[in-house]
């Protein structure tokens, strides 16, 4: 019915719907139980099927109790992380520059930025990697292995970062920039202190997603023979002939690694308070205190 009040320090939340009354709460509870039961049944059925094919046999999973196997895979993960970190930093900086360039008043800069973004967004990363692998060495330029992977990924991801930041900037209410300018800030100052920080905050879900996507793109490193997790998983599965078990383990490693990054990043960004529609990632409109039916006078 009304805006819920929260303890001081938290964001004011605007609810999308009335606080659930008793009947709604009962319905919600019923549906929750039904969903749980259905989900549980589906998972149980899958596990039973799995076991009947012998995929849950202990001896199929025993190799994964050896530390050496985990070390092998984790070294691959470390390679993945190194490459991804480099691309994130370089691509991020480059991306912000491109986004600003595309919104610039100077026509030439705008054209150049737009042109780069449009082309880099549409060139498959695989093609760029082949250029690094074949084209440049023929001209005498031969980069070290890590850079053969990082440079193509940076070129492609900078454009993606640029577009995300640009969407964030455009989504910012115009009043912010106007207020900054009317306070006497130059365009550069307004951008640096007012527009960019808020834009990046708005766009942070997409930015984090792009970062995780980039980590997964590092699996293209097998083309340049870069030691990363997916390739090591494939080598391992051809060694132990246990395709299913190996890839389930690799999936888990990716989930844990990337998942913790996503969680870390989302925790970083929910701290500053912003006054808009409350972040839909948080429960919207669910009151902090136990909802009792309020009598409307």
């Amino acid at each position: 019915m009304s805006t819920t009040t929260k303890p001081s320090g938290a964001r004011p939340a605007v609810s999308l719907y009335d606080e659930p009354g008793p009947r709604t709460r009962r319905n919600i509870r019923i549906w929750s139980v039904v969903t749980f039961v259905l989900l549980g049944a589906a998972i149980a059925a899958a596990l039973v099927q799995f076991a009947s094919h012998g995929q849950l046999d202990a001896d199929k999973w025993a190799p994964f109790l050896q530390w050496s196997i985990w070390e092998y895979l984790l070294v691959g993960l470390w390679g993945t992380a190194q490459a991804a970190a480099l691309v994130a930093v370089l691509g991020g900086i480059f991306g912000v520059i491109l986004a600003l360039g595309r919104l610039s008043n100077v026509r030439v800069i705008r054209w150049l930025s737009t042109g780069y973004i449009e082309i880099a967004r549409t060139v498959p990363v695989l093609l760029l990697i082949y250029v690094m692998l074949f084209g440049l060495p023929q001209l005498g330029i031969n980069f070290p292995l890590l850079w053969k992977l990082v440079i193509p990924l940076t070129i492609a991801n900078a454009a993606a970062f640029a577009e995300i930041v640009r969407a964030g900037i455009l989504g910012l209410p115009a009043g912010q920039a106007e207020a900054a300018l009317s306070l006497g800030m130059s365009r550069g100052q307004a951008t640096r202190y007012v527009v960019l920080p808020q834009a990046i905050r708005f766009a942070s879900p997409s930015l984090v997603t792009q970062l995780v996507s980039l980590i997964k793109d590092t699996s293209l490193g097998y083309i340049v023979s870069f030691t990363e997790l997916l390739y090591r998983g494939q080598v391992l599965s051809s060694f132990n002939h246990l395709l299913i078990q190996t890839f389930v383990v690799v999936t888990l490693i990716y989930l844990v690694f990337n998942g913790s990054l996503s969680t870390l990043a989302s925790r970083l960004r929910t701290r500053p308070s912003t006054r808009t529609l409350a972040d839909p990632g948080e429960p919207v409109g669910v009151p902090v205190t136990d909802p009792r039916p309020t009598t409307v006078a």
């Binding site: 999308l16 919600i28 967004r121 060139v123 082949y130 969407a167 766009a203 997964k216 299913i244 990716y254």
Partner: protein, 214 residues
């Protein structure tokens, strides 16, 4: 260039497969992603948790691993289907998570006044989502969504790893015989570029038309 003319038939067919896969998976992911976002801002805790878990899973696991899981691991859990449809479904599920994230950043930009107004008008949750929130979110998220569609088109190439004959697989086959990787893969790359360019231009046009002026 004769090598392309000689195998024009299979190459064009593979290109058709790529385009069809991208279209079906694209539309599927857009629809599914919208529902996932709606689930995340709904009052039912279980739905919110499920939507959250869905997005977390598909965003954190590489597509190639997902394809391998769907094609080789699921059959032993009882779910088996033909290769191309499996690949399209996995691709749609995967990209739907990204669509959901893109629309979610769009939701961030919808002013709180909109929500208050729709409730003041007596709209139910479903109605306010359908007529007020989601349309504005999508309009604000056109650029990120365009990015997702382009990434989806590029990702159709991974289906080759699980046996689907699309453009990259056809180029590989051609190269196996002709042994001219630079020429063949450059041309394939240019074709993908052209596809992405079409999507990019389309997105730009749509954005100009529906952008919300603040």
């Amino acid at each position: 260039m004769d090598i392309f003319v000689d195998s024009a038939g299979p190459l064009l067919q593979a290109l058709g497969t790529t385009i069809v896969m991208a279209l079906i998976a694209g539309v599927g992911s857009l629809i599914l992603g919208t529902f996932v976002t709606a689930a995340r801002i709904s009052p039912i805790p279980v739905l919110r948790a499920l939507a959250f878990g869905y997005v977390q899973f598909f965003v954190n696991v590489p597509l190639l691993v997902l394809l391998i899981l769907a094609v080789f691991v699921l059959p032993d859990a009882g779910i088996i289907g033909p290769l191309a449809p499996t690949a399209v479904i996995v691709l749609a599920l995967y990209e739907a998570a990204y669509v959901a994230e893109a629309i979610r950043s769009g939701v961030n930009t919808v002013g709180s006044g909109q929500v208050e107004a729709s409730r003041a008008l007596g709209l139910t949750l479903g109605q306010s989502l359908r007529y007020v929130i989601i349309p504005q979110s999508v309009r604000a998220a056109v650029q990120p969504l365009g990015n997702v569609m382009i990434a989806l088109t590029m990702n159709t190439a991974l289906a080759a790893a699980v046996g689907v004959v699309e453009l990259t697989a056809a180029a590989n086959k051609l190269n196996l015989v002709q042994a001219q990787p630079i020429l063949i893969f450059s041309v394939a790359g240019l074709v993908y570029m052209a596809l992405a360019l079409v999507i990019g231009l389309g997105t730009g046009k749509i954005e100009r038309r529906v952008a919300i002026k603040r």
